[in-house]
């Protein structure tokens, strides 16, 4: 098939040469770059460094808990450590890794765009993120130490009387900066996806990863400004004498929780959806099949996004001041679209030819770990069961199952897309060793925590002098955390070992989506030419014209039939999009 189109993006290459004529080289070139791939790579490297820093905090925490009266750190230091562990992992690793790193690099390429819609804003996002991260971590170098009120900073513990000191202010400042960075990236991704799609790339031909990033970006735009406002009010309470969150001045401490979780629960999906997208792409490519139930996958993502805005108070069941049944049913309902995704992933594997590369193993590890975290999450949506387990290690175990699943998917993303944006493959042997350490370590460190939670161990305690029977389970958990730590060392060794060792070629995985049509690494503005885009996997269609996706009930030929119901639902949207194109 020779239906290639050579769109205007080929000419953009001239622009690339003009832009490069500034003469900047080396570090200055990097600092002034507005190329989404350079910025995305900076994001990726910075966020992996944050993962390692947050991981080190976790190892110290686990070492402390290996004994009922641990003395490795003081009570005060422990509070700083778990606060900064959570803050670094959630604010500085998981989000930026996904929507600043991989999405930044991959989304424009998946939709055939030369760059993000606002390249300079994109650069600003990165520098805000880096400065915000450094600001937050600088707390450790102040006299009072880093922030120590937990990553949720509940009022009134976070006011200036209970938590004086610059560490808390640096935490607020750092979070404001990274929050703005996220908002700008959200603006950028939304604009890019709506306005810079290549001819033929209709909304329902976008890969699932791009779809998920669109929903993520919209959630960012809805949720992050609320957090920003809440943080500014917190800062005013601390320094300008307002009483927004203090009872004494007529304020309401629980207001902080409402504001925080109104951001915080969409944030859970802002973190998770990109990784769902990564796993979806990987599972399809390494099963040699299209994404099963592509359209229900998109609707599931949209449903998760919508429901996630109405469930924030399930973090507040034990406050006694929220309407329990409403938030309970909304939270339980999220299990439905999530279940659809899980069945679609299995459907994608069904009757495929599964290739267990490191990326695929990571995605499958994600699926299993996420299943466990998802099932235990259903318990927490039920208020009586939440009263029972709230603030115990059961909750800690639940969300670590989820976030470790995301880490697995993220690592899969690096193994899968790394060759595209660096031009070199990672070593598969090291990769598989890393996978088994990471996967087994994750289960070994979370499972005992479920049991500890059911046995009543509260979170955020450095010592448990009254309950020495918790030691053995804690030891298992610590052992698992060490395995996870080893997996990170293997990863770093692998990056060093594989450095410029295995040239990747344009499409080493026989992958399906548009980013695999260009060179590895891609040229400055991504594409010299594009294939015809007639489905969500143009590269596959180009390489295997005789193996296009089949609808249910269709024969073995290449004719593309839509199922009538799904077709009716999306028909209108598709129709409009085709006209635009």
């Amino acid at each position: 098939m020779t239906d290639l189109i050579t769109p205007q993006v080929a000419h953009a290459d001239d622009g690339h040469h003009q832009e490069e004529h500034h003469g900047a080289t080396g570090i200055l070139k990097w600092m002034t770059s507005t190329d989404h791939k350079v910025i995305g790579l900076s994001y990726t490297v910075t966020s992996v460094v944050m993962l390692i820093i947050g991981g080190l905090f976790a190892e110290i925490i686990r070492a402390q808990l290996a004994s009922p009266n641990g003395t490795i750190v003081s009570l005060a230091q422990y509070n700083e450590l778990f606060t900064m562990h959570g803050s670094v992992m959630i604010y500085l690793f998981a989000g930026p890794f996904a929507f600043g790193g991989l999405a930044n690099i991959i989304v424009p390429m998946q939709i055939g765009a030369p760059d993000m819609a606002f390249p300079r804003l994109n650069a600003l996002s990165y520098w805000l993120y880096l400065m915000g991260s450094l600001t937050m971590l600088m707390g450790f170098f102040t006299a009072g130490g880093a922030a120590n009120f937990g990553w949720v900073a509940y009022a009134p513990l976070s006011n200036s009387i209970n938590t004086p000191g610059a560490g808390a202010d640096l935490w607020i400042g750092g979070l404001l900066l990274t929050g703005f960075s996220a908002i700008f990236t959200g603006v950028n991704l939304t604009a890019t996806i709506f306005y810079l799609r290549a001819p033929g790339m209709t909304m329902f031909r976008m890969p699932i990863f791009t779809w998920n990033m669109l929903v993520t970006a919209i959630l960012i735009l809805l949720a992050f400004p609320v957090l920003t406002a809440g943080l500014i009010m917190l800062y005013c309470d601390r320094h300008f004498g307002t009483h927004i969150y203090s009872v004494a001045g007529g304020g309401v401490p629980v207001l902080w929780q409402h504001i925080f979780w109104f951001w915080g629960h969409p944030e859970v999906y802002i973190l998770a959806l990109p990784f769902f997208g990564i796993a979806t792409e990987i599972i399809a490519v390494f099963s040699k099949k299209p994404v099963f139930g592509y359209k229900s996958m998109v609707f599931a993502t949209l449903t998760i996004g919508a429901l996630s805005l109405g469930v924030w108070a399930h973090h507040m069941f034990t406050t006694g001041v929220v309407l329990l049944p409403f938030f309970s049913i909304m939270s339980l309902l999220i299990a439905v679209p999530t279940g659809i995704k899980i069945f679609n992933w299995i459907g994608t594997m069904w009757r495929g030819e599964l290739w267990f590369s490191t990326a695929m193993l990571m995605a499958l590890g994600f699926l299993f770990t996420f299943l466990i975290g998802g099932l235990t999450g259903v318990y927490l949506a039920s208020p009586p069961l939440d009263f029972f387990t709230h603030d115990t290690y059961f909750v800690v175990a639940h969300f670590h199952s989820i976030v470790m699943a995301l880490v697995l998917a993220g690592m899969g993303g690096l193994y899968y897309w790394g060759p595209k944006f660096t031009g070199y493959m990672l070593n598969e042997k090291f990769g598989k060793i890393q996978f088994w350490f990471l996967f087994i370590g994750t289960q070994v460190f979370t499972f005992p925590q479920y049991l500890l939670g059911l046995d009543g161990m509260p979170r955020r305690i450095p010592i448990y002098p009254h309950s020495p029977q918790w030691k053995s389970l804690n030891d298992w958990s610590t052992f698992g955390a060490i395995l996870v730590g080893v997996s990170m060392i293997v990863f770093v060794v692998n990056v060093g070992y594989s450095w410029k060792r295995y040239p990747a070629g344009d499409n080493p995985w026989d992958a399906q989506t548009l980013e695999w049509f260009t060179t590895s690494p891609p040229p400055h503005h991504n594409f010299y030419r594009l294939p015809q885009i007639r489905s969500e996997r143009p590269t596959w269609d180009y390489n295997h014209p005789e193996h296009r996706s089949l609808a249910h009930g269709a024969g073995g030929t290449g004719t593309h039939h839509e199922p009538p119901l799904a077709n009716a639902i999306v028909g209108m949207l598709e129709h409009d999009q085709d006209h635009d194109a």
Partner: protein, 263 residues
């Protein structure tokens, strides 16, 4: 339809005596026992659904591992299957929700009570005041105060906090509730076993959060009355009320300047 699915599940949740515990425990109150049965119901659902998914998943991994470089059939949709795994989870969710409502309504019910305990949490300890008597129990960090309550009686708890948010949690009650500054949280519990039960603050409240222990001692009604008579101490009762006030007033930043000074 909802009722149809909900009722068997609720019945199962409320009567699961021979069902495995799934790591939880029956507890020492009527409420904790309901929560335990709800836990069992949810766990059965989780095991059945999770088990089904794991079986499919493992089967796919073994059965469909790569055997050749052939390109498999590029099937993308199977509408009946997709509808099935959308509709069945919705029904399951409404079943779980119905069972949740049954237990939740029991837990938040406010039946008539004879015994009231005012529980006040502060950094870092607990104060148990028995209104209508002259008994007060206060204990900080390592003192582990004991709240004594009679068995087989509805106990009304008024939970408050003097400073930051604390978590009132007793493992044997399968229950926790925040102690919030400026909010009066109320709940009822009905212990069905005598004995000593251990409690701890679960919500991060500052430096000595990990040492905010307390005990709940469930005794017979006559022992409880004797204990009240023995521990009645008007002077301590009055002093305790005063301390609370002082603690509150030190929490109030009288002038904006004071919060600057704290930094």
């Amino acid at each position: 339809m909802r009722r149809f699915v909900a009722l068997p599940l609720a019945a199962l949740a409320l009567s699961g005596c021979t069902v495995p515990s799934f790591g939880a425990h029956q507890g020492a109150t009527t409420e904790s026992s309901s929560v335990y049965h709800l836990w069992q119901g949810f766990s059965i659902g989780a095991v059945v659904i999770g088990g089904f998914v794991v079986v499919l998943f493992v089967y796919a991994i073994i059965r469909f591992r790569r055997k050749s470089d052939n390109i498999p059939r590029q099937a993308q949709y199977h509408l009946p299957a997709e509808v099935l795994y959308t509709v069945v989870p919705i029904l399951v969710v409404f079943g779980l929700f119905a069972a949740t409502l049954v237990v939740e309504n029991k837990e938040v019910a406010d039946p008539k009570t004879n015994v009231t305990v005012d529980v006040n949490a502060f950094q870092w300890g607990w104060k148990f005041t028995y209104p209508g008597t002259e008994t007060v129990v206060i204990g900080q960090t390592t003192q582990d105060p004991t709240m004594e309550i009679p068995v087989n009686t509805n106990i009304h708890i008024n939970l408050t906090s003097t400073d930051v948010i604390h978590g009132f949690y007793v493992k044997a009650f399968n229950f926790s509730r925040y102690a919030l500054p400026g909010v009066l949280n109320q709940f009822t519990l009905d212990a069905v076993k005598t004995g000593n039960f251990y409690g701890q603050c679960t919500q991060l409240c500052g430096l000595y959060h990990s040492l905010m222990f307390f005990n709940v001692k469930v005794v017979t009604m006559s022992q409880y009355s004797a204990w009240l008579a023995k521990t009645a101490n008007p002077a301590a009762f009055a002093a305790a009320a005063k301390t609370t006030k002082q603690q509150t007033s030190t929490q109030v930043p009288t002038k904006p300047a004071s919060s600057h000074g704290a930094n």
